[in-house]
Amino acid sequence: MQKYKTLVQTIAFLLLHSSRGLEAKWLCVPVLSCHSCALSYFACPIGVFAHFAGHHVFPLLAFGTVLLAGVLVGRLLCGWVCPLGFLQDLLYRIKTRKFALPAWTGWVKYPVLVLTVFALPFAFGEETVFSFCRYCPAAGAQVSAPAVISAAFAEDAAVSGWSLLKIGILAAVVVAAVFFRRGFCNVLCPIGALLAPLNFVSFWAVKPPTSRCISCGKCNRACATAVEPSARILAGESPSRAADCVVCHQCQVVCPMKDAPGEAAKN
């Protein structure tokens, strides 16, 4: 499963960022990928929401698209398609001491969403310094870093402080990803905050791998976002009915009881 997931993430990364002029930037794909990137095909919902908040216009098309994706698959796109999630998954494989984030940090992303995507751009305009786009690490990787690199080779090009700030934030996210499992997704990602409540009702859900959980804790250790799926599996509920679950299906794969007599047929 892990191999398939990496393959899907690689293909998704290439498909999302291979435009050579062709684009469908009227369509929001709910993953953190900057639409200012010349290679992007699609619009970033966070950018569109922030701009529309500044315009004082409700983004019906973008909101409908994100809501539809969320209701159909929950946070599946976070786990399998998001390029920043993919980057964090790769960095977490670096062998070093790992740390767990306190549970309360999972709530930080909601005020981040409300303030930096809706309220502050609405109050101060789409170009406000408080907009999430000003600090977005995806924009740092896709736009600011290439701009700074190309400026280094150009004679009269200037590098803005905002570009350097975004690259600094990107560097912090990269370092954190080595030590914390999907730290950015859990704590700060506004798309995660948008989609998280929809995990509770989405049509796509991870089936409990067993009805005879032995509480071995393997699923908890394998979980990409530390939502402790064992408690839900023990209660016979879908482990993906948690706000921070990115629907990676890893808890299903590692369960030692999934192939137990009577369980294999169900799965």
Binding site: S19, G21, L22, E23, K25, W26, C28, H35, S36, A43, G47, V48, H51, F52, G54, H55, H56, V57, P59, L60, L61, A62, F63, G64, T65, L67, L68, G70, V71, L72, G125, E126, E127, L198, F200, V201, S202, F203
Partner: protein
């Protein structure tokens, strides 16, 4: 079983709401002001070293009101291509450029 049914009901309702939003968004249009650049003929006189008569000023840009679809506004909003000035939306894009080849105004 009851929880599952409630969950399915909520999901179906949200799905219908999402489709309604998409349909309304696809049908909606926005009035946007577009500052058309001055004609090339007029601009010629303003080039460095070009002809310039005493007292001649740069011609003001022509302001055109356009009705654009919401999908177009989403595209224009990328790169901060549209700004709110007062209660009006003003696009900064050079629309003579084909999609995908527009320069970022920021």
């Amino acid at each position: 079983m009851k929880t599952r049914r409630v969950r399915l009901g909520i999901a179906a309702g949200l799905c219908a709401a999402a489709l309604a939003c998409i349909a309304a968004g696809a049908a909606r249009t926005h009035r946007v002001l577009y500052e058309q650049p001055a004609d090339a003929e007029e601009e010629r006189f303003l080039l460095p070293g070009g002809l310039r008569f005493p007292g001649m000023r740069k011609p003001p840009p022509k302001i055109v009101v356009e009705k654009i679809s919401e999908a177009q506004l989403v595209i224009d909003a990328t790169f901060t291509g549209v700004l709110r000035k007062g209660d009006k939306l003003v696009t900064q894009y050079d629309r003579s450029q084909p999609a995908g080849r527009r320069a970022c105004p920021t």
